[in-house]
C-alpha cells in the first residue's frame, strides 16, 4: 500500500507535527526545552526503576512506551511489522550504551538538541555540530564497507518483546506510581522536584507518544538519518523533516513564550562547549553505526526489530551507570568522570567501526 508519508510533504508534515507536539508538551508541563527527549526520558525511566538514584531525574515518562506502541500499531495496520534480529546484538547493546553516555554529557538526544536550538539555547549549536561530525565519521565507515551483518527473520514473539515491555511500563506507571497525596509509596521512584517532577499529565504524554510513534513509523523521521543521507547521498528528504521539526517548534515556542535566546542559564544545559560538541559527536557516531537516532531505534523496535530493542536496553543501562558513576552532566557542568566516559565511548565506537569493515 502506498505510504502517504514517504513523499516530501509527508516528511514535512511529520517533522512539523512532532515539533509542534514537543512545544505543546513543554507547555503542558514537560521540562524546558525538553518537550521530547528520548535520551533524557529513558534516563528518567531508568531513575523511576531505581537503576540510578539521582533524585531529580526519576519519572516513568509515558511518551517512551507510547512511541514503541504507536509504531507497533502503525506497523501492524500497514503490514510492516516484521520480527527480525541477529545483526550483532551485543555490539548494538554497547553502541546504545555509548550513545547514551554521549547524550548525557551533552544533556539531550538529537531531538532535544534541535529543540534546545528552537528554544533559544545557543549551547545546542556546538552539540549539533558535534552530532554532524559524529554522523559524518559514521558515513565514512559505511563508505569503507562497514556492516554489522544481516538480521534474520524471527518468530513473531521475538519482535514483540519491547512492545510488551512498553505495555508493562505503562501499567506500572498507572498502577504502581507513588502517590504523595494518598501517602502510598508504589513500586517506582518519582521525583518531587527538578526536571523529573516536571511532566505533562499522563494522558497527554501518552497520547502524544502514541501519535508521534505512528507519525515517525510512517515517515521514517530520523535526525541521524537526515544528516547521514545528506552526507552520503546529497539527499534532503529526511533533513527537510528535521528543518520542519525545528521551524515549527521555534514558531510554537515564540507564540507560547518559550523562546529565550542565550547561552548562560539555559534550562537543563551547561556551557562547556567542547563537551557539548564531543558528547554529541560520540552519540552521532554510535547512532550512525547502529542505523538510527534514539527515537528511530524505539520506532524500529516497535516494528519488530529486536536489534533496535537491544540498543534501547543498552541506553537504559548506560543511563543508570551514567548517574551512578558520575558520567552525566548537570546544569553545573560536566560530571566528574564525564571526560573519561566520553573518550571511552568514543574509543569503543571507533573500534566497532574499524573491526566491522568488510571490504578489503
Amino acid at each position: 500500500m502506498a505510504n502517504v508519508f514517504a513523499g516530501r510533504s509527508g516528511i514535512l508534515a511529520a517533522g512539523g507535527a512532532i515539533g509542534l507536539a514537543a512545544a505543546l508538551l513543554q507547555f503542558a508541563g514537560n521540562p524546558a526545552n525538553m518537550g521530547i527527549c528520548v535520551a533524557c526520558f529513558v534516563r528518567d525511566i531508568a531513575g523511576s526503576l531505581g537503576l540510578h538514584q539521582a533524585a531529580v531525574v526519576q519519572y516513568l515518562r509515558p511518551e517512551i512506551p507510547g512511541f514503541v506502541i504507536g509504531s507497533f500499531l502503525a506497523a501492524m495496520l500497514t503490514g510492516e511489522f516484521r520480527a527480525r534480529a541477529g545483526s550483532a546484538p551485543a555490539t548494538r547493546f554497547f553502541l546504545g550504551m555509548s550513545a547514551m553516555t554521549g547524550a548525557l554529557v551533552f544533556l539531550g538526544c538529537p531531538w532535544r538538541a534541535f529543540l534546545r536550538l528552537a528554544g533559544g539555547d545557543g549551547n545546542a549549536i556546538l552539540g549539533i555540530l558535534g552530532l554532524a561530525v559524529g554522523v559524518f565519521v559514521g558515513t565514512r565507515f559505511f563508505k569503507a564497507g562497514f556492516t554489522l551483518g544481516r538480521a534474520q527473520g524471527q518468530g513473531r514473539s521475538a519482535g514483540l518483546m519491547l512492545v510488551l515491555a512498553a505495555v508493562v511500563l505503562l501499567g506500572v506507571r498507572v498502577f504502581l506510581s507513588p502517590d504523595p497525596a494518598a501517602g502510598t509509596l508504589g513500586w517506582i521512584w518519582a521525583s518531587l522536584k527538578g526536571p523529573g517532577a516536571a511532566h505533562a499529565p499522563l494522558l497527554i504524554s501518552l497520547g502524544a507518544g502514541l501519535g508521534i510513534g505512528v507519525l515517525a513509523q510512517r515517515s521514517r523521521f530520523c535526525t541521524m538519518g537526515a544528516l547521514r543521507d545528506l552526507f552520503l547521498f546529497r539527499q534532503m528528504h529526511l533533513f527537510s523533516g528535521v528543518l520542519a521539526f525545528v521551524a515549527v517548534a521555534f514558531a510554537a515556542n515564540l507564540m507560547l513564550g518559550q523562546f529565550k535566546p542565550g547561552f548562560e542559564g539555559q534550562p537543563i544545559a551547561h556551557t562547556a562547549g567542547l563537551w557539548n560538541f564531543l558528547g554529541m559527536a560520540v552519540s552521532g557516531l554510535a547512532f550512525a553505526l547502529a542505523g538510527g537516532c534514539p527515537g528511530r531505534q524505539l520506532i524500529l523496535a516497535g516494528e519488530g526489530d529486536g536489534d533496535s530493542a537491544v540498543f534501547v536496553l543498552g541506553m537504559l543501562v548506560a543511563a543508570g551507570l551514567a548517574h551512578n558513576m558520575g558520567w552525566a552532566s548537570s546544569p553545573a557542568g560536566i560530571g566528574p568522570n564525564g571526560m573519561a566516559a566520553t573518550f571511552a565511548a568514543m574509543g569503543f565506537c571507533l573500534l566497532v567501526g574499524v573491526m566491522n569493515l568488510k571490504k578489503a
Binding site: 505510504n3 506497523a75 516484521r82 559505511f142 538480521a151 527473520g153 521514517r220 543521507d229 539527499q235 542505523g291
Partner: protein, 75 residues
C-alpha cells in the same frame, strides 16, 4: 533479459546499506537492469529516491512475504 539482470541481495541489511549497495551498482553499471531485494521497511523508498536521482527507472516493486523486489532499469 533475466540473465543480464544484476541482483543486489540486501535482505537482512538495515539502512543505509541496501541503498548504498544499490547505488554502487547503479554507478558501476551506468546502464542496464538491477534487481534489488530488501526487507528493511524504509529501504524501498530510499532505493526508489536514489534511483530517481541517478536517472534510473523503477520498473516494478512488489512485496512478497516481507521481501520487496525492486527492478530498476536505465537504457
Amino acid at each position: 533479459m533475466a540473465e543480464n539482470t544484476k541482483i543486489v541481495d540486501a535482505r537482512g541489511l538495515s539502512c543505509p546499506q541496501p541503498v548504498l549497495i544499490a547505488s554502487d551498482e547503479m554507478d558501476a553499471l551506468a546502464s542496464g537492469r538491477i534487481e534489488v531485494l530488501t526487507d528493511c521497511g524504509a529501504s524501498p523508498e530510499n532505493v526508489g529516491r536514489a534511483a530517481k536521482a541517478k536517472g534510473w527507472r523503477l520498473v516494478t516493486s512488489a512485496e512478497d512475504n516481507g521481501t520487496v523486489r525492486m527492478v530498476l532499469e536505465k537504457p
